[in-house]
């Protein structure tokens, strides 16, 4: 059924198609991934047809054997016939094996290709997208949805092609035998079509709803595992279980709703086919009695019609498959169609790391989240001189973290611009920019890999010396005491390490890159005073000829900086040396003066 309908929607690709059409459009767009396999697929489809023929070729031989040698009592000729059946049978089995083997191999390859492409696309999408999308929803697309598409291409579609072929052939034969009865059979296609159309209309949204919800369930499971300590620390296991149960119940209900829609149409398919058979039998019998049809022809007609039963009954299942593949394709293209907000401009330039002086200038930089009319940054003007270390101080919520996400374009300003050595950073190639500007966040994201892999994240070619040097600077030499040294796997998000250890590793990771501009978001917050002092001493050396932008919360960290900028209500309220600001800016004093006196006051 699907094959003809798949061919049309090309034209609606650009102008916003209606939702129902777009489902088909998106499935059709998958053809891009079939293209590399087109010859194999062509071969495969011809093998499917050959396999049908090989399967159909055996019964006539068997029939001829009964009518011929067996009736004649010729054992020798029977052996010849049997040999032919055996030969055809072997060919049929072999064809079947080969085509199934190819079918599954090709389908798996296509699935893997789409998955890799989807992964690549997700990597390019900006952090704003990832903040909004639950991991479980993305995961469902990468696994379950692609699985559905694969199953359709490997199963449903092939079945649809072969049964369409079969139905056409049989209908032709029926027309040849008795056209009036054949029209009766053909007329039964009308209710089938109507029911099928209704099915499409109802099933598509129901399937979509179910698939969406299964992403929610996966998200809930993932979140409860990631937050297990927070949950256990508060004893909220039962609450989380209740919430999960609600999500799972919703999934169950949506699944049942979908199946109820299926139950209403599928059941009708078989019944209509049986009813048509009844009509033909009754009408045919009357015609035989009238003498306008021979018994042999009626028998042949009905035998053929019986062969139609199964493809018609199964078409419900095929349609459901097709529907699910369409929604799955839709969901996959939800992601593919999201353009990365942060990407290379046409003609973006490449700068040579060695020639970068490292002057960083913020010009009237503004930033607001897309769902928030109030801006976080309201015109930041700031100049970081080459080789200078500038600290950013400010109260919670003043926009420090947002500000430091801009120079490496993890976010783009909504107004104003940022210049690196006089060039707008948006005119540089993204990968190039990020090799020049490196950012380390307060939260050290460590991956479940070896320490070495984690350290070399930003510079895969770093040699042992670079790594050891970075570890020394970050006072992270504790890694040598881990069971397998640099080869030790550190757990999920480095959980088996303490906060301070993780932070030092993250710092070492940034140091390994040796960027021209180093951006650090409160890099020492989890360190004790003693370690902090050691790290600062070692960092000073690194920062000597690196431009650095550092978010600070503590006066002790300020010691690293040549100058400090105070961020207040989205603007730079003051810039200067720490000692100057301590005198000139009461706001600064409030933000950075030692806490102890206030507490005891």
């Amino acid at each position: 059924m699907g094959s003809e309908r798949l061919k049309t929607p090309e034209q609606s690709e650009t102008d916003a198609p209606p939702p129902r059409r777009s489902a088909l459009t998106n499935l059709w767009r998958i053809k891009k991934y079939l293209h590399p396999y087109r010859y194999r697929l062509a071969l495969l489809w011809s093998m499917v047809l050959l396999n049908i023929i090989s399967g159909l070729s055996i019964p006539p031989v068997v029939g001829a054997a009964i009518d011929g040698p067996i009736s004649d009592g010729d054992m020798r000729r029977l052996a010849v016939f049997a040999a032919v059946v055996a030969g055809l049978g072997a060919a049929d089995a072999l064809l079947n094996l080969t085509r199934r083997y190819m079918q599954t191999t090709t389908a798996m390859a296509i699935e893997a290709d789409i998955r890799a492409a989807l992964y690549e696309h997700l990597q390019r999408l900006h952090t704003g997208f990832h903040d909004r999308w639950q991991t479980g929803q993305l995961l469902a697309r990468v696994t379950a949805d692609l699985g559905m598409i694969r199953r359709f291409f490997a199963g449903g579609m092939i079945f649809a092609i072969s049964s369409t072929g079969m139905i056409t052939i049989i209908l032709g034969q029926l027309l040849f035998i008795e056209w009036r009865l054949a029209l009766v059979v053909a007329a039964s296609a009308i209710p089938l079509f109507l029911i099928g159309r209704g099915f499409f209309r109802n099933y598509l949204p129901a399937a979509r709803a179910e698939q969406d919800q299964s992403g929610e369930v996966a998200s809930a499971a993932e979140e409860a595992a990631l937050g297990i300590r927070a949950i256990k620390a508060l004893g909220r296991g039962p609450l989380m279980a209740a919430r999960f149960e609600a999500e799972a119940a919703e999934l169950r209900d949506r699944g049942v709703r979908k199946s109820l829609i299926a139950s209403r149409s599928w059941s009708a398919f078989g019944a209509i086919a049986s009813a048509a058979l009844g009509v033909v039998l009754v009408a045919g019998s009357v015609m035989v009695a009238n003498g306008s049809l021979s018994v042999g022809n009626l028998t042949a007609f009905i035998m053929l019609q019986l062969a139609l039963l199964w493809p018609i009954e199964a078409s419900g299942w095929v349609m459901a498959h097709g529907n699910e593949a369409m929604t799955a394709a839709d969901r996959v293209y939800d992601v593919f169609d999201t353009e990365p907000a942060i990407k290379d401009r046409p003609g973006a330039k490449v700068v040579d790391r060695a020639s970068v002086r490292g002057e960083l200038v913020f010009e009237g930089v503004r930033f607001g989240f897309e769902d928030d009319s109030r801006e976080v940054l309201r015109g930041v003007d700031l100049q970081v001189r080459p080789g200078e270390t500038l600290a950013i101080a400010g109260r919670t919520g003043s926009g420090k973290t947002t500000l430091v996400s801009l120079p490496s374009r993890l976010n783009d300003p909504t107004g104003g611009r940022i210049l690196l050595d006089g060039t707008d950073i948006r005119d540089l190639q993204l990968a190039n920019l990020r090799s020049v500007v490196t950012t380390a966040f307060e939260e050290a994201t460590l991956f479940s890999m070896s320490v070495r892999e984690n350290l070399a994240l930003g510079r895969p070619d770093a040699d042992e010396r670079d790594l050891l040097e970075a570890l020394r600077v970050a006072q992270a030499e504790f890694v040598h005491d881990l069971p397998y040294g640099l080869d030790t796997r550190i757990g999920e998000q480095g959980l088996s390490l303490s906060g301070g250890q993780r932070q030092r590793l993250a710092l070492a990771r940034a140091v390994v890159v040796k960027p021209a501009v180093l951006v650090l978001d409160d890099p020492l917050s989890a360190l004790d005073v003693h370690t902090e002092e050691l790290v600062e001493k070692a960092l000073e050396h690194v920062l000597k000829d690196t431009t650095a932008l550092i978010v600070v919360h503590r006066p002790s960290t300020v010691a690293l900086a040549d100058r400090v900028a105070l961020l207040h209500e989205g603007r730079i309220a003051a810039v200067g040396e720490h000692s100057e600001l301590m005198v000139s800016s009461p706001e600064y004093v409030d933000v950075l003066s030692a806490a102890s006196e206030e507490v005891s006051a």
Partner: protein, 615 residues
């Protein structure tokens, strides 16, 4: 053998090869057998509550089976009797009755199919719903150390792709299985009745089928298991690299990441394909056996006919029956794929459900009559790894209401103490008591309402700020949520957000800065109002004005509470009644902060360093 082998080193070495696995990953013959039993038991326990519904479903299928069988009989009857009645006697009643019967068949078929799909969907959905909840609860009860090696990706894999595999089995194809079985039995019986000798010969190929089935079962079990494992690894990697996508982008790790993901993707592709390819052999083999059976029947039956031992009609019927015997079986081979996938998934899940809980809930919990918040460490010994003792034997009594601060270098055991009090782990020796009751004897609910820990982890859940604070006390009114936020000084920044307390924090709180998240977590803990509060580096991300507010709040909050504070910033330590300096898991100094400063020991040194750092 796998595409990732050449990159295998990236993963690094773990404590043991099995560190991140449950028992479901073992693949020696003995374990496989046991796993099979385990998963069968699990399937049994899933089906048991739906026994009657399943019986009903089988009933529908049996009826449907007979209804479908009626069709050829009606056709035969119509041709043999209906037509002669009309042509010979002009009697339309026979054909009329046949027409009516056909209408009945159509209606019955409609009802059976409709009822079957609807009912089986309900049963299947209910079974999965229960299983999902069971698995979720089990994961919640498993210890923190289990989760640390198992990873959230695997948890997600169990709840998504494994459940999906089971759903495919329960939702589709079971009817085919039952109908095919009914069909095989019916036809065997019919054939035996018609001609026992010919039937015996035609069933000669049956052992071949069994052999083929056994072969497939054996080889594909491993293949499908491996497929489930590779998909889990893929999910683990996906979840983690997407969770840390900010770091990936900032460090331009995309390419390397893609390379590693591609390796896992390819592994999974081949592992999945392996099972299906073996299934292709099974499918071709079954067809071949079917054709072989035809040849055998043709030759032997033909010879019998020539000998006059049997009728030509019988042979024709036999040949038709052979086809009807094998056709559904060929369809069924497809379902075998689904079945094997689901079995492997069931094994994985049963592995989780059978995982021993290291930190188990007591069978008969004891209650604390009047909570005072007294903590007693009685010779507590603890180590994460055999060769590295963290706490050699800690003796410590913290009277109810006292605020103690733990000070010491990294690895001194501060966080371990905090984790023991929160019962993330149990002591290897000795006991830890809250108001005289061993933590191991305390019910989970009592323990959690008594002890709350705040760490620097600052985990925020998907939802609004208010919902995240409310987690401290589910059902708390908005007023109390706001009040808690005010106390810890979070109110101001929350109000400044576009939708205030109803602002969505986005995934993992991505909307907020680390300091803001910490304040939300503080408000959450304040709302929880526990008897014992543990602050493990809970203020490290705060800026000084916020910390000042939190300090002030803490003085009130901790007034009537037992508290354990771990902090690098001694500003937080100063509010403690008592400071413990730890070294290698032993207490080397113990006293009031001012006394310790006067005393001139380790703490005095630390304090001086800290004062210097304040500039």
């Amino acid at each position: 053998m796998t595409a990732t082998d050449k990159h295998a080193s990236w993963r690094g070495r773990a404590e043991s090869a099995e560190a991140d696995r449950t028992s479901a990953e073992l693949d020696d013959a003995e374990s496989i057998k046991e796993l099979r039993t385990q998963s069968r038991r699990l399937l049994g326990s899933m089906m048991r509550p739906h026994k009657r519904a399943i019986g009903f479903l089988v009933g529908i299928l049996v009826v449907q089976n007979f209804v479908t069988m009626a069709t050829p009989i009606l056709v035969m009857y119509g041709i043999d009797h209906g037509i002669p009645a009309i042509s010979e006697r002009g009697d339309y009643s026979v054909i009329g009755w046949i027409g009516v019967s056909f209408a009945l068949v159509a209606i019955l078929e409609y009802l059976c199919v409709r009822l079957y799909i609807a009912q089986s969907a309900k049963v299947s959905a209910a079974m999965l719903f229960n299983l999902r909840n069971r698995v979720f609860k089990k994961f919640q009860r498993l210890s923190v150390s289990f989760h640390e090696r198992f990873t959230s990706g695997r948890v997600t894999a169990r709840q998504s792709s494994d459940m999906e595999a089971i759903r495919e089995m329960t939702e589709n194809g079971v009817d085919d299985l039952v109908l095919a079985a009914l069909n095989v039995v019916t036809i065997t019986v019919v054939m035996l009745v018609i001609d026992a000798r010919l039937a015996a010969v035609s069933l000669l190929t049956f052992p071949l089928m069994l052999l083929l089935g056994r072969w497939f079962n054996r080889v594909s079990t491993l293949a499908y298991r491996r497929a489930r494992e590779t998909v889990a690894l893929l999910i683990v990697y996906f979840v983690e690299s997407m969770g840390g996508v900010r770091a990936v982008q900032a460090y331009r790790r995309e390419e390397r990441d893609r390379e590693l993901f591609a390796g896992l993707n390819t592994d999974n592709r081949f592992a999945q394909a392996a099972g299906h390819q073996q299934n292709a052999f099974m499918s071709g083999g079954m067809r071949g056996i079917g054709h072989l059976a035809t040849v055998v029947v043709l030759l032997f039956g033909g010879w019998q006919v020539m000998q006059g031992n049997t009728e030509l009609g019988v042979l024709a019927a036999f040949l038709l029956y052979m086809k009807r015997f094998f056709d559904p079986l060929n369809e069924l081979v497809q379902f075998y794929n689904v079945l094997q996938s689901a079995t492997s998934a069931l094994e994985k899940i049963s592995g989780v459900l059978d995982e021993e809980i290291e930190v188990a809930e007591p069978e008969s919990p004891r209650r604390i009559e009047r909570p005072r918040g007294e903590l007693h460490f009685d010779g507590v010994r603890f180590q994460y790894r055999e060769d590295q003792v963290v706490l050699p034997g800690l003796d410590l009594l913290v009277p109810g209401g006292q605020t103690i601060a733990l000070v010491g270098s990294t690895g001194a055991g501060k966080t371990t103490i905090a984790k023991l009090v929160s019962r993330f782990y149990d002591p290897k020796a000795g006991a830890l008591r809250l108001d005289g009751v061993d933590l191991r004897e305390l019910s989970e609910a009592d323990l959690r309402s008594g002890v709350v820990m705040i760490t620097q982890e600052n985990f925020l859940f998907n939802g609004t700020i208010a919902e995240n604070i409310e987690l401290g006390r589910p059902g708390a009114s908005r007023e109390r949520v706001v009040e808690a936020a005010k106390v810890v000084g979070a109110h101001e920044f929350i109000e400044a957000l576009p939708e205030g307390y109803d602002t969505h924090v986005r995934k993992r709180g991505g909307r907020l800065s680390a300091g803001q998240r910490q304040l939300v977590v503080f408000a959450r803990a304040f709302l929880a109002d526990p008897k014992v509060l543990i602050l493990d580096e809970a203020t490290s991300s705060l800026d000084i004005p916020s910390e000042r507010l939190v300090q002030r709040a803490l003085r009130t909050i901790l007034a009537d509470r037992t508290a354990i504070i771990i902090a690098h910033r001694l500003s937080t330590v100063e509010i403690a009644d008592r400071v413990l300096v730890l070294e290698h898991g032993r207490i080397i100094e113990d006293g009031h902060p001012n006394d310790l400063i006067d005393h001139g020991g380790e703490y005095a040194t630390l304090h001086r360093q800290w004062e210097d750092s304040l500039v």
